[in-house]
């Protein structure tokens, strides 16, 4: 079981030498207990303590990283079951699968747009993490060729899929092990697969039809010296997948159960139907997957999935905010109107994108609403007439804007009266409720 900070402290040198980067051994011990640092940061700990502590110091879910040519995807190291308890740390990697019975052209055609795909969401560039190549032919040379084709198109991490060690071995000749996961070791082939993973330094997925068999296998493979494992309990439907994912996370976090303390890999693409694939992927993002393998790539599905992943993995303690202040959209002149909104980043980007896209010049006053959206901030008293008036002064709006016309979001129409009292020299206009309607409003009402 996990040790407390004090129990760990007793096993440290207690010299407060600061070589670990923390001011005291106790501070370091507390971080170790919270599983936020690695014991290896202490150069002076005795071998005996090291042994005792290593079991306790390891995170309950092992961090597995695939890194290739500057692209890295990591999964594991999670500490909670519910995001509000702290946060989810490592976004599940999204991979697109091709098969070795497809022609070179077919593979290239599927891969190229997925490889090139990148989309901007609230100022962040989102992209897929890598590709999976599955052997359907069971022919090592056909597989090696397919891997070569994929590798020539993409430098991102790869997942190589086959039950046949010979086939996997052929694929591994083509790629670098650090950026590669082998899928999968099972009860038949695990010794050869473990040997290959060890030889090439790859991560290794382990598949078994029950948690019990999975635990037995991971223990055996770990004993062979392969520790970067990823697990698949074999479920493919909604209900069983959810139950297994939940149990695996609970066993790792609540029981510190090591044999299942690894990231989970899922295959929503096995559903066959693209609509069901996207729904299963959404479940996997919310419920504990570490690596997700898709069979279909199209922007209209991948874009919402990437956004969902971003949303679920947002740190709930730090709402994504933008700096309050006076922003210029499309180089406004002093005669152009002033729009007002809050500093919640989704709100800001919705408004800014609309106005910028319309080409209409405007000033945008982003008030300090503690990172809340318009309605939430208004309900919490963080976006009212008094605060807006204060920010008009604080950011020196009148130094830049001559024509005193202010547009407030339609959702807070009720504050327009108070705002007129707070800012008597301004004309207050109630704008639309949604940012998407702003350009039409600006064209019709303001020009």
């Amino acid at each position: 079981m996990a040790l407390s900070g004090i129990q760990i402290y007793k096993m440290l040198p207690q010299t407060n030498c600061k070589d670990c980067g923390f001011p005291t051994c106790l501070a370091f011990a507390m971080k170790l207990a919270a599983k936020q640092v690695e014991l290896s940061q202490c150069p002076h700990v005795s071998e005996e303590s090291k042994e005792k502590l290593s079991e306790s110091a390891a995170p309950p879910i092992r961090l597995v990283a695939l890194s290739a040519n500057g692209h890295e995807v990591k999964a594991g190291n999670e500490t909670v079951l519910f995001r509000h308890e702290k946060t989810f740390y490592y976004k599940p990697g999204l991979f697109v699968r091709v098969r070795d019975d497809e022609t070179t052209d077919q593979i290239r055609e599927k891969l190229a747009p997925a490889e090139a795909y990148s989309v901007t969401y609230v100022g962040i560039e989102l992209a897929l993490d890598g590709f999976a190549v599955e052997s359907v032919s069971n022919d090592p040379s056909a597989f090696a060729k397919a891997v070569e084709v994929v590798h020539a198109v993409s430098e991102k991490p790869l997942i190589l899929i086959s039950d046949e060690p010979d086939v996997i071995a052929a694929g591994l000749e083509v790629v670098d092990g650090k950026g590669t996961m082998v899928y999968a070791a099972n009860s038949e082939n695990w010794q050869q697969m473990a040997a290959l993973a060890k030889e090439h330094g790859t991560s290794l997925a382990v598949v078994a039809p029950s948690l019990e068999e999975l635990s037995t296998l991971t223990d055996k493979i770990k004993a062979q010296g392969v520790e970067d494992l990823v697990i698949d309990p074999g479920a493919r439907d909604f209900s069983t997948s959810l139950a297994y994912a939940t149990q695996i996370r609970r066993l790792a976090l609540k029981k510190n159960y090591r044999p299942l303390g690894y990231p989970l890999i899922v295959f929503p693409g096995d559903a066959g139907d693209p609509a069901q694939e996207s729904m299963l992927t959404a479940q996997a993002i919310a419920k504990y997957a570490g690596f997700i393998v898709l069979d279909h790539f199209n922007p209209e599905t991948v874009y919402p999935l990437l956004v969902l992943r971003e949303n679920i993995y947002t740190d709930p303690q730090k709402p994504i905010q933008v700096q309050p202040g006076l922003y210029e959209l499309n180089s406004p002149s002093p005669e152009d109107p002033l729009l007002v909104t809050t500093n919640f980043s989704i709100t800001y980007f919705s408004v800014a994108n609309e106005v910028e896209g319309s080409g209409l010049p405007a000033w945008l006053l982003v008030t300090d609403a503690e990172g809340m959206s318009v309605l939430t901030a208004w309900a919490a008293g963080k976006f009212d007439a008094e605060r807006i008036a204060k920010d008009v002064k604080r950011f020196g709006v009148v130094d830049k804007v001559n024509n005193k016309r202010m547009v407030i979001p339609g959702h807070v129409a009720v504050i327009s009266g108070e705002l007129e009292e707070e800012l008597p020299e301004w004309e207050i206009r109630v704008g639309p409720r949604e940012a998407v309607d702003l350009p039409a409003f600006m064209k019709q009402v303001l020009l």
Partner: protein
């Protein structure tokens, strides 16, 4: 080595709430819908039997909506001009219940009258035997002016009436109590505010089995994580035994998803957004399934294809898995 599953044992459970009344129950619905009753987190079949499956409603309007995505208008076609025809079409899409959202104004821009609103509700009740949710336009005075006569005119139907908010709940709750209806208690994505409104409503002697709570949500990309976590926390509080959170939850992924730019706009958007229709349906159905995983009991949607996808997922999630 045998593995013992980690099972939570919860002291509390969610109340069951029944919407709609059949003739034997004092209404005219062909069936009623019961939600709630959870004794564990969503679909944790290994902990407790999942009594009632989450249900899906389609939102229809009393007249052609002014601000809906053209994709929705195109999909529904002519029925959007006739709430009765729309109700029938929605029923054919395979939903469990209907939500009629009243407009603030009529076709000519005049404020909706109580007579017109009552007529629309009655037309829908006649056209379809499904249980009904009725939402006012969301403006306090107008909501009261429309919902009270509707409640009176449909006594005994066990309609779920909304929107009850902290600033405007008394009149609607009183009208629901007097006429054997239910209320939808809406609060902005906050556990304590949700709890507080439930207390205020039950202080008026409204029985708790006639309240559904609506913690609201943001759409995918527009704050879904706040709604998701508020719902997860509300459900955990209910299971831990907090009586004032032990109510089924309604959310409106249709309304939220279809007001986003991704769903509403097809031209002049980034190429990386892909095909408009499929993107919009993904936006709605992925918002819905994510909230289903965090405890939604009633999901109100707008597009029939989203309904199909979400209902399929619900059916699959209701299957009891064999864990080994």
């Amino acid at each position: 080595m045998p593995i013992e599953l980690v099972k939570d044992s919860w002291p509390g459970s969610v109340r069951t709430v029944t919407i709609g009344a059949t003739p034997e129950e004092g209404g005219t619905r062909s069936r009623s819908v019961t939600v709630g009753g959870e004794k564990a987190l969503p679909f944790m079949h290994f902990e407790a039997e999942v009594q009632n499956k989450p249900v899906v409603a389609i939102e229809i309007k009393d007249r052609r909506p002014d601000d809906w995505s053209p994709l929705l208008l195109e999909t529904w076609g002519e029925v959007v001009d006739d709430p009765a025809a729309w109700a029938k079409a929605a029923e054919e899409a395979g939903v469990d219940l209907l939500q009629l959202s009243l407009s603030a104004t009529d076709r000519d821009g005049n404020e909706t009258t109580p007579e017109a609103a009552v007529a629309a509700v009655k037309a829908v009740l006649e056209a379809s035997g499904l249980p009904l949710i009725v939402f006012g336009p969301g403006q306090a005075e107008l909501d009261n002016a429309l919902l009270v006569p509707i409640a009176d005119a449909t006594k005994g139907e066990r309609i779920l009436l909304g929107i009850c908010e902290d600033k405007n709940y008394r009149t609607i709750v009183a009208a629901a109590m007097a006429n054997d209806h239910l209320v939808n208690a809406r609060t902005p994505m906050d556990v304590n505010l949700a709890k507080q409104l439930n207390i205020l409503i039950s202080d008026m002697n409204m029985p708790l089995d006639r309240i559904v709570m609506d913690p609201t949500t943001g759409a995918l990309g527009y704050g879904i994580e706040y709604g998701y976590s508020a719902m997860e926390r509300l459900r955990l509080a209910a299971l831990q035994g907090d009586a004032m959170t032990q109510l089924p939850m309604l959310v409106t992924p249709g309304f939220e998803a279809w007001k986003t730019k991704e769903s509403k706009v097809g031209d002049d958007v980034p190429e990386e957004w892909g095909d408009w229709m499929e993107r919009a349906i993904n936006w709605e159905s992925l918002t819905a399934i994510t909230l289903l995983e965090s405890g939604a009991d009633i999901l109100v949607l707008r597009h029939p294809e989203s309904v199909r996808r979400v209902k399929k997922a619900i059916d699959d999630l209701m299957a009891v898995p064999e864990l080994a």
